[in-house]
Symmetry: D2
Subunit: 394 residues, 4 copies
């Protein structure tokens, strides 16, 4: 466990650069369009977003290629836009936490990008990612994210999943080669999602993506960008997923937001749903010494006006800070340490098998099972302590 | 694609040994107890189950240690039970598709087995698995399954997920060593599940387990036993999950049943829910040449009497056979081949990048995206063909 | 049970007017826009849709006010559009199954329409519904539908649900008065939905809406328009919901499509998911003699081109016809009648208590419970017959 | 809004009788059996449970007939058990909040009780309910609950849902007559649930049950007993459901616990999941002046020993008290009142249509919609205030 910038905060709910909070340009810039309604807010100028986020205490921003340089922009205009954006970054001191490619908005990607059944689309998708990697490198992004939102099916018979995985692998291998060939200092982070906008998406969970990475030609260069909403849609424990990514050394980036299980992709303000899971997540990140960006991939409710967007952004950071402080407080309470002891939480870190154990020894222990059944694990006590610390009544 | 025993069936719905259907002793023997009610059927003698399954056309059975040798049985009685069971197998010609350890019924496993916070329980769990592996080897099981049903939490603070994964890995590594040390010809298959009976279970999906295998000391020895109900509980596509397992060369065994999304573990008769997903699964298995047991991990509805159990078992096999026949018929229809062509399904098997491609070439293809957007993928036509073949109207 | 036009079909999968199939203008006209992507198909001229649907064998169409008369159209232009549309209906002989109001696309409805927290929006919503009712009456619609897609919350504290229900009731009562005052021959049908586009929508299920109707001033005038996708999103049995609506005499209209549980609103082609539930639904509708429109509220996959839209529309009708034929065949099979008898399905229609029963008699029967426990209900046999009839192997 | 006993608590987390907390005998007495494991705790003597709950500050208990008088008990023994239990109630001053009938544990109920396809079972079920009503009346229960846990199907073809609802209605009407005939002072409360232990249960939600009540012969005598876990399983908003029940005057009782969406029935400690929904619920109950029992239908985690059960019980009450205090504090904060004003929350209580409004006036307001679109509803600010009050940082 490392020392966290969250540990010694003077004013605990005020975001500062060392907290490394970042927001996607598309998050504060979300216009409130949904499948049933037209936009409710005007688009934001990325430069204005940068300035406003700097004022609020964020460390940086993240972006898709098309967030900054709209599709169809000429090369000259592209350079002008990028230069102006870089000036704003310099002026405010903001960094670029990650960059990524929009491979889902253009109608040509309607059947997928790296796994489109149309080979020409697949090739253009790789080309678009190369161009966007150039942009990310130019802006100094630390991490390059791949979210395969269109890589899936509604009609299962249309794609053999083994072919799709093979094409996905080919694309990531090709792009990793490209990064190395260009000499860019970029790591990749895959972002899994189970469904929406496709009926079923390939690499639906953190687990599937972790496995996929092991099949790549440059596995060390590729990690994960788990998103709260995506694992939660499938009802999976997000902090368990992040735990497996950390255990594998693959937590390269993280997307923070909120979501109810079994629903459309909500991307609510961080902490707006399931505060206990939020607490377990933040406690895990802080204890593990995660030092990448705390990235919010969320947006304001559609019934907000432009001012409400900044209430939203501020709320994301305040809740993270409050949970980080609560995590610290929780672990400092003597009654929590007692409850963790009673639960055997520390005991789980001890190896099960000792140097001298042989099969006969272990088989013999089976006869003790009836006697082992009496022990209680004090989980009610421990979980109630979590609740009471969360509620601030302890 | 290999030649399937399902391809040339004279009477297509009659199960035969070459179909390799297996049933767990606990499936046909399920007494109909549930969280709200007492058993509705008397226990079955495993030997009677073997005989009845042989009559129905099954290839074999599978079992937990305690299914055959009840907990607390003396060593002498154990040997008598096993000998009698082996006689029944010989008499009927039935094989043992897989064996596994019951690490969830005994109260001592209430906080987990390999990941219990109580180290003594973890040791006894490994010992119990060793004893059960001995039994599995004695019975000639092909595959040894690990379902970590109790390896999870309700109170997240009670277990650091990284510690839990470490203990899980230690246990599997220890047991793999044991198998090698004993000279047994056994492969392991992990069975993931997202929740129930724990609030959140470690290795919740096929993806998480596939990744976990890559962290083991003997990864080649360990594969997957995916279960329809388990992926479906989380709303994930089962045939995509099986596709990833096949792609990884890790489909060592399979648990067939039926389940509605977002519910308690139902373990319904194979085909009782989501016939289209069942069709996609069977088509994938048959096309991939899967030759392991077609194993049913399901049970009769609780409102069945003892006779209904065999209707249930028969129904599982008949529906599999019907779907296998439909898969063959589907791929033989000219209109299906046309629709697959229109969908680009075959095109997905072609590499995206050619030998002569350089980044500049691929980047240049981006400019063709607007022109690529017009193509339709005929997925409605293809999926309707699936439906019509399923319904037998084509 | 009445005689169904589905019973004696010569060519069983060819739609004809007597089948009363209808499609929303917005369904075949869906341009394939989603939260992550731009449209993939051009808008359709409603008149072209009418002609094409007539060719395919549909009975009629349905529409929102804005589907036909775009928001912002002048009065003169509105009359021209309506007259041209009426001509197309006359020319083709198509009817208008239902009409409804778009109270969700305009940004002003971002916090709700009848339950917006802004009273001026609520008033305008009622006014827009009145105008749209005029249009519906002019076009001869049988039923007028209310889907309260924006009537809900993400931030629960923003609306007391009791106030929201009171405002919803006030709006429906006001509009029912308006219809009576105008002398229109229109019935209302409420369409429940649990979530999307709001986090939680008021009147989330068929049950909530059925109760709400009993609180209205003109309850006889108001019924239900249940939608497959909406109940299914929440994992509820759709045929049970339709059963309760039929039992209450409130099935005024129905929205047919397909959906996986626990996902974004998919509106897939009817029959594309859960064929068994589709069969149970169609069998119930046909047995109950439902004679309203069989209305498809679905759309083609986003990766279809304009031609694929008509494959989609045709598929909806073909699958309904196939299921109706299967329902008839199922009930005509002797083995099904035997299985229904064994299951006691007919016995459920008999009153439980007889004229001469007093409490003492009924209390005495408790002592027979142990003896009653032996009976099996043959549900495996019956459900397997459903599956085999569905698959066309019986 | 009435004065709540929660408003002026000196020691805000100490339960007292005026808080009216009750626990089912089956909740603290839950032995920790689940579908995959044997009990982990010994049964409790109901008299001991009464004494222990009194010490902890509960107001009362609730029970099924079989919780107190095990199935198969002789009449003489039954009287002895009841007398001893009544003595314990008198000794401790505890009341009986509600009583109910176990119509789900006995194998005879495997196909349902009031809706079993076996008429003899239906008759015995009504008789058993009559006997249990006698017991409830003898113990002074205020409310009599009906949970139809077995009233449903796995095989949909086995029951026409219209027949099932008709039988359900007949049973409730018969039992209401019985209560009136006996002169008992008892009201009924129906408890809906979507699934488990049946695949699909009739009256799956609060809405379906509210509608069903309107079809009864004595609707005034029958209300609702909503349960957190049951609505949550289907992903429905619990506080919206309770809001509709309150709006209808039908909240006769309530079952408090915690549950994750889309899972097996978890019945966790109140507040263990979704603290924001818990807050919205408690705020609604307190503002509405709900004065029935605050009843916990939950149980300790299976990995608790007997001592952990009382940590569980204490935690339920402490969290309720903490949330009630937070609700009071929330509504007293000036910034909350400002945010509610900005959100228009109060405006929703105003009628939409005034005395002088005619259709022409309302239609004319449609032209103002474009101008109404600019308003923001400050929901981010309001919801963040909920989160910060919950976390105790405001």
């Amino acid at each position: 466990m490392t020392t966290s910038p969250f540990a010694a905060s003077a004013d605990q709910l005020v975001p500062r650069k060392e907290h490394r909070f970042t927001f996607g340009l598309w998050t504060v810039g979300n216009p409130g369009r949904d499948p049933f309604g037209e936009p409710t807010r005007a688009p934001l100028d990325p430069v204005d977003s940068v300035r406003r986020l700097a004022e609020l205490g964020a460390w940086g921003v993240s972006l898709h290629d098309d967030d900054l340089v709209p599709w169809g922009t000429s090369a000259a205009e592209r350079d002008r836009i990028v230069a102006r954006f870089k000036s704003a970054l310099e002026e405010t001191g903001l960094g670029v936490g990650m960059a990524t490619t929009n491979l889902f908005t253009h109608p040509a990607f309607k059947d997928g990008a790296f796994t489109s059944n149309d080979r020409a689309v697949r090739r253009a998708a790789i080309g678009k990612a190369m161009r966007a990697i150039d942009l990310g490198a130019e802006l100094g992004a630390e991490v390059y994210v791949f979210w395969g939102g269109r890589e899936g099916t509604e009609a299962g018979a249309a794609k053999d999943p083994r072919d799709a995985l093979e094409r996905f692998r080919e694309a990531i291998d090709t792009l990793a080669d490209y990064v190395v060939g260009q000499g860019y200092d970029l790591r990749f982070a895959l972002e899994p999602k189970p469904n929406e906008p496709r009926g079923d998406i390939f690499l639906p969970t953190v687990g599937h993506a972790l496995h996929f990475i092991t099949t790549l030609q440059r596995p060390d260069m590729v990690g994960l960008n788990p998103e709260v909403a995506h694992e939660t849609m499938a009802g999976l424990s997000f902090h368990h997923a992040v735990g497996q990514a950390l255990w594998a050394g693959k937590l390269f980036h993280i997307d923070l937001n909120a979501q109810r299980i079994g629903r459309y992709d909500q991307d609510f303000r961080f902490g707006a749903e399931d505060l206990k899971e939020g607490f377990l997540l933040v406690r895990l990140l802080e204890r593990a010494g995660y030092d990448g960006p705390r990235h919010f991939d969320a947006h304001a409710y559609r019934n907000e006006d432009p001012g409400g967007v900044w209430d939203f952004a501020s709320g994301c950071m305040r809740t993270y800070l409050a949970l980080a402080e609560k995590a610290r407080h929780f672990d400092a309470l003597p009654e929590v340490q007692e409850a963790l002891e009673a639960a055997g939480a520390i005991e789980l870190a001890q190896p099960t098998v000792g140097a001298g154990d042989d099969p006969a020894t272990l088989k013999a222990e089976v006869d003790g099972l009836d006697g082992l059944a009496a022990r209680g694990f004090a989980n009610e006590r421990l979980d109630q302590l979590v609740v009471e610390v969360l509620l601030g009544v302890r």
